[in-house]
Amino acid sequence: MDKAVDLTCIGGCFGPSRKPTEFLCLTLKLLQLQPDRQMLDVLVDQKDFKYLRALALLYFRLTQPSVEIYQKLEPLYADYRKLRSKNMTGTYEIVHIDEFVDSLLRENKVCFITLPGITKRMALEDAGQLAPRISPLDDESESDSTDN
């Protein structure tokens, strides 16, 4: 956990020899440790360490069912903090947490890891397992209108 707190970037593999980043190594470590749900919720909800949060988000996406993934990750669309991401060439670029969450929900491969399949949101909505998504922007506009 100390090393997770000291993380400075997120990423998968880089360089010609496909060297893994610390982020990827710690993801593997979490998969070996298999923390319980309460611990995981604490790691996801905490706001002090953004790289630890990103690590927990990735682990959550890898291990939890579809409904809970949407319920836990979508509120983090409001987190606009910056993350340092290491790409394949070894250079760094800025990625925001909401973009990271969006890639976790929509893409097949993140941080050099092929993510497990997830049910489409519309299918879950039609099945009645999920409510339609309310964007933070809508919340802001509603609150502005009520204030007015």
Binding site: Y80, L83, M122, L137, D138
Partner: protein
């Protein structure tokens, strides 16, 4: 001429036919000489022939290894020398007898096969003797003479190249591979390939190749200029530096996401509505719509195909008031072209592929 006996071939001579066995000297005919010879001569000839036979028999029965000295053979010195001496004596006696016989019987032309053979052998021996004498004159060969009672002088040579060849071939002796000194035809590799199976050689080659690759990779990683690892601190991830800008950026991203979700939702709803509409239509209307849709698709494809083969035809011709006629002509030309069977095209079995009365064309080439 003798009377022909039943079952026997008629012969002009009184010689009894004998069967030939390879490697066995034919027995000389004794007693079938011409009547002009006297009994004494006959006896002498018999004695000579008998001596010749003995000598020849000794020579033939002697093992050939005793005549040719090999370095690998291990024998006791005394036994081999005795054998050699005896052999030499027998040969010399045979030669002498043959020479005497040749000189005395040169006039009589006997039909006996043994006489002719002996004569030939005697002649060959003389030739070989001459060669030996010539060799003995060469320096480096030691020749020793020894005389014994009752025998002619012998010639003993210690020259290893001196072979007493009575047309005898050297018996091959097996030399183990480790002791052989000769070089292989294709060099050592052929011998090596013969010893090691092919798949083993390939396995060793693969292992060598993998080791070489690993070594080169390690060398490259060691030598590559530690790719100036970019300092993570050069990319600033500090938050709340410019809050308004960050919030604006976030708003833009969120708006884009919301629009994207909305478009996806609309596309899905549109598709579901279309499905519902089609399901709600009457069958006749549905078929008509399907035919119309297929016709439009075919025309579009034909237009693209025509544009590929005749780009000029694809251009809009303002002077041509009837573009459909031109298109129909293009399609007809194409259909004619398709009617021409290609050389060796066994699939062109008929005109069923050109049947345009169906909703969908059968041939995939049109579709």
């Amino acid at each position: 001429m003798e009377k022909q006996q039943k079952g026997r071939p008629m012969t002009t001579s009184s010689t009894k036919l004998r069967r030939y066995f390879p490697g066995k000297a034919p027995a000389p005919e004794v007693g079938n000489f011409s009547s002009s010879e006297s009994e004494d001569d006959q006896k002498d000839a018999e004695v000579k022939l008998g001596a010749q036979q003995i000598a020849i028999a000794k020579v033939m029965t002697r093992p050939t290894t005793t005549t040719i000295t090999m370095e690998s053979q291990s024998r006791t010195g005394s036994e081999s020398e005795d054998d050699e001496r005896e052999l030499l004596r027998a040969r010399l006696r045979a030669r002498q007898l043959a020479a005497e016989e040749h000189s005395s019987n040169s006039s009589s032309d006997s039909d006996s096969n043994s006489n002719s053979v002996h004569r030939r052998r005697a002649a060959l021996r003389q030739i070989q003797q001459k060669k030996r004498e010539q060799q003995s004159e060469e320096p480096g060969t030691s020749v020793t003479c020894s005389s014994e009672p009752g025998s002619t002088s012998e010639l003993e040579t210690t020259d290893s190249d001196d072979g007493y060849g009575l047309e005898m071939m050297a018996k091959p002796i097996y030399v183990p591979k480790a002791q052989r000194k000769t070089v292989g035809l294709a060099g050592e590799t052929s011998a090596k390939e013969g010893l090691v199976p092919k798949h083993e050689m390939q396995k060793w080659d693969r292992q060598d190749a993998s080791v070489r690759i690993a070594a080169s990779e390690a060398r490259r990683m060691r030598e590559e200029p530690q790719a100036d690892p970019q300092d993570p601190m050069t990319v600033d991830d500090t938050d709340d530096v410019d809050v308004d800008a960050e919030i604006d950026a976030w708003r833009q991203r969120e708006t884009a996401r919301v629009e994207r979700d909305g478009k996806e939702k609309e596309a899905v709803e549109r598709e579901e509505a279309e499905h519902a509409r089609v399901r709600g239509m009457a069958e006749e209307d549905r078929d008509a719509e399907g035919i119309d849709r297929a016709r439009c698709q075919r025309e579009e494809k034909a237009r693209k195909r025509a544009a590929f083969y005749e780009p000029a035809a694809a251009q809009d011709d303002v002077a041509d008031p009837d573009p459909d006629a031109r298109l129909t002509q293009v399609m007809l030309d194409y259909a004619k072209q398709r009617l021409q069977p290609r050389k060796g095209n066994s699939k062109a079995r008929g005109l069923w592929a050109e049947d345009t009365s169906l909703h969908e064309p059968r041939s995939r080439r049109f579709g």
